[in-house]
C-alpha cells in the first residue's frame, strides 16, 4: 500500500508502516482498536461462560473449556488465513481481526483455566487425568488450527477458480 508523497515528507516514497494506525500512534494503543477488542472480548467471554454453565465438568475434567479452546483455535485458524489471503492487515481486514480474532476468539478461549484446572488435577491425585487433559488440549488444538487454516485456504482456491 502506497500513498502519494506529500511535498514536505522526505520519506514519502516508503510504504505506510502498518503498525501505525494514526500518525505516531501504534495500533495497540489506538482508541478504535481498543473498542473493537473490548466488544469482541466481552462477547467471547460471555459465550465461554454460557457454555461453561451449560456443560458441567466430567470426572474433574472441564469438558466445556476443552471444547471451547478447540473450536476457538479452529475459528482463529479460519479467520487469520482467510483475512491474510484477502490482502494486507489494514482497514476493514484489521478491524475484523481485532474484533473477531484478538477480541472474540481471544476472550472465548482461555489459557489460565487450562493451566489452573490441570494444576488442581495434578495435585489432587488425578495426575493421569491432568496430563491427559492438558496434552489433549494442546495436540487437538494444534490440529484444529491446521484444519482451520486448510479450510480457509481451500475455500479461497475454490473462489479463485470460479
Amino acid at each position: 500500500m502506497t500513498t502519494p508523497a506529500p511535498a514536505h515528507d522526505p520519506h514519502g516514497e516508503l510504504p505506510v508502516d502498518s503498525d501505525l494506525a494514526a500518525p505516531g500512534r501504534p495500533v495497540h494503543l489506538a482508541g478504535s482498536s481498543i473498542l473493537l477488542v473490548l466488544v469482541g472480548g466481552t462477547a467471547g467471554t460471555a459465550a465461554r461462560e454460557a457454555l461453561s454453565l451449560a456443560m458441567p465438568a466430567v470426572g474433574g475434567i472441564p469438558v466445556a473449556i476443552f471444547l471451547i479452546n478447540i473450536v476457538g483455535a479452529l475459528f482463529l485458524g479460519v479467520l487469520l488465513e482467510a483475512l491474510s489471503r484477502r490482502g494486507p492487515d489494514v482497514g476493514r481486514r484489521r478491524s475484523l481481526r481485532l474484533l473477531l480474532g484478538t477480541g472474540f476468539a481471544g476472550g472465548f478461549t482461555t489459557y489460565s483455566a487450562l493451566a489452573v484446572d490441570t494444576g488442581l488435577l495434578l495435585t489432587g491425585g488425578h495426575a493421569a487425568a491432568g496430563v491427559g487433559y492438558a496434552l489433549a488440549t494442546i495436540a487437538v488444538g494444534a490440529l484444529a488450527t491446521v484444519a482451520g487454516i486448510a479450510l480457509a485456504a481451500a475455500r479461497h482456491r475454490k473462489q479463485a477458480i470460479r
Binding site: V27, L38, G41, T42, A46, E49, G77, T110, S112, V116
Partner: protein, 127 residues
Amino acid sequence: MTPLLFVALSLAGGVGAVLRLIVDGAIKTRARGAFPLGTLIINVSGSLVLGFVTQLALSGSLDDAWRLVIGTGLCGGFTTFSTASFETVRLVQQRRYALASVNAVGMLVAAVAAGLFGIVLGRLISG
C-alpha cells in the same frame, strides 16, 4: 448466577482482552524476534493470578463473585489459547521446530507451574 454478575464477568473479559492487546503490543515493539514472547508472558502471568484468586475463594477469603469476575472474566479474557495454538502452528510452518515445541509444551509447563505458585501464594495469604 445473577444476570448482573454474568454481565460484570463478561465485561471483565473484554477488559482482559484489551489488556492483552496492550501488553502484547508493548512486548512486540521491544522484542522483535521469531518467538511470540508476548502470548507466553500473558498466559503465564494470567495463570498465576487465576491460581491466586481461585485459592482465595476456596479458602473463603474472597467472595466467589470476585473469583468469577477477576478469575473467569479478567484472567480468562486476558489469557488465550487460540493465539498460542496459531503461533505454534506458524512456527512449525517456518520449520522452527524447537521454538514451536517451547511455545506448545514449554508454555503449558510454565503456565501450570505459575497457576500452582498462585495457589501456594493464596494459601500463604489466607493462612
